[in-house]
């Protein structure tokens, strides 16, 4: 136990981060996941694994101190650990599908509903005897009688 806490701590003291604020570190870290192997690839920004996430966040802080940009740090992680290090798939190649498909499905859905509504409406023959406002009032009166079932 003491080893475990001390370990996290030694790293804290080894090369402490100077300039980079924890908000800047988090901004980079939230695009990455923890790869300690014990947790289920939690966000690197929030994971508390002392053997990976905590020291890696400090590593990111030191890289930021060195003047590396956000993109450069992410690239460094991808080249070291592969795409698995990213918290979300990059929108390129086959992974573009991940991002596009949900919205494509939504558009497909709305077109489907539209065509259903169109068909149904053209087939229905409106036999409006009462005017809109009257019918509306009637409707409201009827609603009042709605019983729960």
């Amino acid at each position: 136990m003491w080893m475990w806490i001390a370990f996290g701590l030694l790293l804290t003291q080894a090369g402490s981060v100077q300039g980079a604020s924890s908000a800047e570190i988090k901004e980079v870290a939230q695009e990455l996941v923890c790869l300690c192997g014990d947790c289920a690839r939690e966000s690197l920004a929030t994971c508390l694994c002392t053997d990976f996430a905590v020291p890696q966040r400090e590593h990111i802080g030191r890289l930021l101190d060195q003047g590396k940009t956000h993109g450069e740090i992410i690239d460094e992680y991808v080249s070291t650990y592969g795409q698995m290090a990213l918290a979300a798939p990059p929108p390129e190649g086959i992974n573009l599908l991940a991002w596009v498909t949900p919205f494509a499905a939504l558009i497909f859905g709305i077109l489907l509903i539209r065509s259903i509504l169109r068909n149904r409406r053209t087939e229905s023959t409106s036999t409006a005897v009462v005017g809109g406002a009257q019918r509306d009032r009637l409707q409201r009166e009827l609603e009042r009688f709605d019983e729960d079932d």
Binding site: L9, S22, R41, P89, A98, P102, G132, R135, D146
Partner: protein, 666 residues
């Protein structure tokens, strides 16, 4: 004693198998005696599984470590409460618990509908019996909780420390009650298809039995969020983890179902669609179980990897083939009885509601399964984590709030332009006025502003709906405001319970919006040192160590002040559970309605300094408030109405001797 449990499971396999056979035969031949016999067999299954669960509980409480499940999931040092809850702390036990809940649901349906829905009951029984039979196979052949070890260990390993938390003790049972219960509406849907009773009769039992598991699932999800928030120590309550997603998906499908059946009940439309939703709900529960238990997608909810995955995969395929096969055969008989009259109608609003709910469902399902798809194509492992789900679901979620607010403002059939104007005027005004607050506070995040405006408008629309109904009631009766609003809501529980859950959703969304403004800091403090954090001042006072048989812990004591006023002492803690060689984080939270001050102890150094992580989480309490309102609203909606009670009374008075021939096939 343990042999009793195993023997009970063997008998349950026989009784559920017999129930499946006799209900099918009864459904085909129309012989009532066979159906009754099947019902009795299902009651016997329930009794047998109850016995099996009791035997396992007995083994846990008497620390019978000869039983492998007991040795792996409990130990002598654990408090009594967690010894009891460890029944669902491991694979085999939780499946037995699952099967038991299933049998309880079935028994409830059997006893409640002894004299009702007689045309639907035979095949509904078959579906439920088949599910029960499947679980008995699992208990006996794949995840036997009664396997004994060749020797009796002196002590067990104990319950996973992450689960040693009161919320975690209730969260799984609630989820199980939700996931398992969805078999009942599914059973009635399939029964309607199989028996050809394709009118709206099946919707009545299906709606009631959807509302119950749907509420449990919602409560389970939110309690799980609360657990993650206080136990996992990452400052959030929802991580889009595959297992969380697995229980969110049936809830979304259930929500869609509860809305769209209203169109069928009133207009005789969407018959096919409602069948699809009932099938989807249940299939998603099984898919979720498969994802959770097979470990095909990595997750924080790692159950022991086992051979259970293929069982669920096969079961899922059988469900899909049988249900959609039956649906296809009955398609010609599922024609809509009515046509839509107007775009501007409640019907269209419900269609759009289904569209957006299914849109979110699809996005979640897609994101959850995408790692498998991508790996199949590229051979590279990828992670689909929170950034993906948030970016995709936030815009869709905003449309959901809009529709939640706008939908109830449309009348059935058609809404005139004038009444639309009237209905939308006040909510729109309230929404726009509500902009002043976040803008004044310096909020410039577009999504957050839209979300808050929509939530305020929708909440205003709901309040108006209650108010207008109450005023109308006061005009026709001589009741006071309080009496009128109570009677109004009690007379139409379904509608007003629904509005309450809508209101809850708005509170939840306000809470979710707060997530956009979370701020986070890490500080290293020496003893006695004070640091400013936002509007707060935090002083690190002291550190204490504690050790007992179960764990040892390090706890820090800090004083929190705001504007010079002492708010209290915070005690963040890290624990180390020996039996598991695992650490847990016990966060300490100072909470008011505006925001949470969320403090984590990261570690301590030999020189006495300690490292802390702090999250300021604005509006997070709206999530918990929304959760409570959601549960109350669902309870309100499903509470038996006067009519239900009348029917039940008639049922009882006309009942012949219900315990007739106890024909149990074993």
């Amino acid at each position: 004693m343990i042999d009793f449990g195993y023997f009970a499971l063997c008998l349950a396999l026989l009784t559920s198998g017999y129930a499946l056979f006799s209900s099918l035969a009864g459904g085909r031949s129309g012989r009532f005696a066979l159906v009754r016999s099947s019902e009795n067999a299902l009651l016997a299954t329930c009794a047998l599984l109850t016995l099996a669960v009791c035997v396992l509980w007995h083994a846990l409480l008497t620390h019978n470590f000869q039983v492998r499940f007991v040795a792996e999931n409990s130990n002598l040092a654990m408090p009594l409460f967690y010894t009891v809850t460890s029944l669902w702390g491991g694979q085999a036990g939780s499946l037995l618990f699952w099967g038991w809940i299933l049998s309880l649901y079935i028994a409830a349906v059997v006893l409640l509908y002894r004299h009702r829905y007689r045309e639907l009951m035979p095949y509904a029984l078959s579906v439920m019996a088949a599910t029960s039979f499947f679980f008995c196979i699992l208990h006996l052949f794949s995840a036997d909780p009664f396997v004994t070890l060749p020797f009796k260990p002196a002590d067990g390993r104990g319950l996973n420390p992450l689960l040693q938390q009161p919320l975690m003790a209730i969260h799984p049972p609630l989820l199980y009650l939700g996931m398992v219960g969805m078999v009942v509406p599914f059973a009635f849907a399939i029964s309607a298809l199989a028996s050809g009773q394709l009118d709206s009769t099946w919707l009545r039992p299906a709606r009631r039995w959807m509302l119950i598991p749907w509420s449990f699932l919602g409560a389970g999800l939110l309690l799980g969020g609360k657990w993650a928030y206080v136990e996992l120590g990452w400052g959030g309550y929802w991580g889009w983890d595959p297992v969380e997603n697995s229980s969110l998906m049936p809830w979304l499908a259930g929500t869609a179902f509860l809305h769209s059946i209203m169109i069928q009940e009133r207009k005789g439309m969407l018959k096919v669609w409602n069948m699809v939703l009932a099938i989807l709900c249940y299939s998603l529960c099984i898919l979720g179980t498969f994802i959770t238990r097979s470990g095909i997608i990595s997750s924080v909810h790692a159950f022991a990897k086992s051979n259970i995955g293929p069982f669920f995969a096969v079961f899922l395929v059988v469900i899909l083939v049988v249900s959609f096969g039956l649906l296809y055969l009955r398609l010609p008989h599922l024609k809509p009885e009515n046509r839509l009259e107007s775009f501007a109608s409640r019907e269209t609003a419900f269609l759009l509601n289904n569209w957006i709910l299914l849109g979110i469902l699809f996005a979640v399902l897609w994101g959850t399964l995408f790692p498998l798809i991508s790996e199949a194509f590229t051979g590279q492992q990828i992670t689909v984590g929170p950034p993906f789900f948030n970016q995709v679901n936030v815009p869709i979620g905003l449309v959901l709030i809009l529709l939640t607010g706008a939908g109830p403002l449309f009348a059935w059939r058609r809404t005139s332009e004038q009444s639309l104007k009237e209905n939308f005027a006040v909510p729109t005004m309230v929404g726009l006025l509500s902009l002043i607050v976040p803008l004044g506070l310096g909020v410039r995040d577009l999504y957050a502003l839209i979300s808050l405006v929509l939530c305020a408008s929708a909440a205003a629309a709901i309040v108006l709906e209650f108010h207008a109904g109450t005023r109308a009631r006061m005009r026709s009766t001589s009741e006071g405001y309080a009496t009128a609003i109570y009677r109004l809501s009690a007379k139409n529980r379904r509608r007003y319970g629904g509005y309450m859950t809508h209101f809850a959703l708005m509170l939840l969304f306000v809470g979710f919006t707060g997530k956009a403004f979370t701020s986070e800091t890490e500080v290293v403090l020496q003893r006695g040192e004070t640091t400013p954090i936002g509007a707060y001042e935090l002083t690190y006072e002291t550190m204490a160590f504690k050790e007992d048989a179960n764990m040892n812990s390090t706890a820090a004591a800090l004083t929190l002040r705001r504007d010079g006023q002492r708010l209290g002492t915070l005690l963040p803690e890290r624990r180390y559970y020996k039996a598991f060689d695992q650490g847990t984080t016990e966060v300490s939270i100072y909470s008011d309605l505006r925001e949470d001050f969320y403090l984590i102890l990261v570690g301590s150094a030999e020189d006495g300094s300690a490292k802390f992580q702090i999250y300021i989480n604005p509006l997070v309490n709206f999530v918990w408030l929304g959760s409570i309102v959601l549960i109350l609203g669902s309870l309100w909606a499903m509470w038996p109405t006067a009519r239900d009670r009348r029917i039940a009374r008639i049922d009882r008075s006309t009942a012949p001797s219900t315990i007739g021939s106890l024909a149990v096939g074993s």
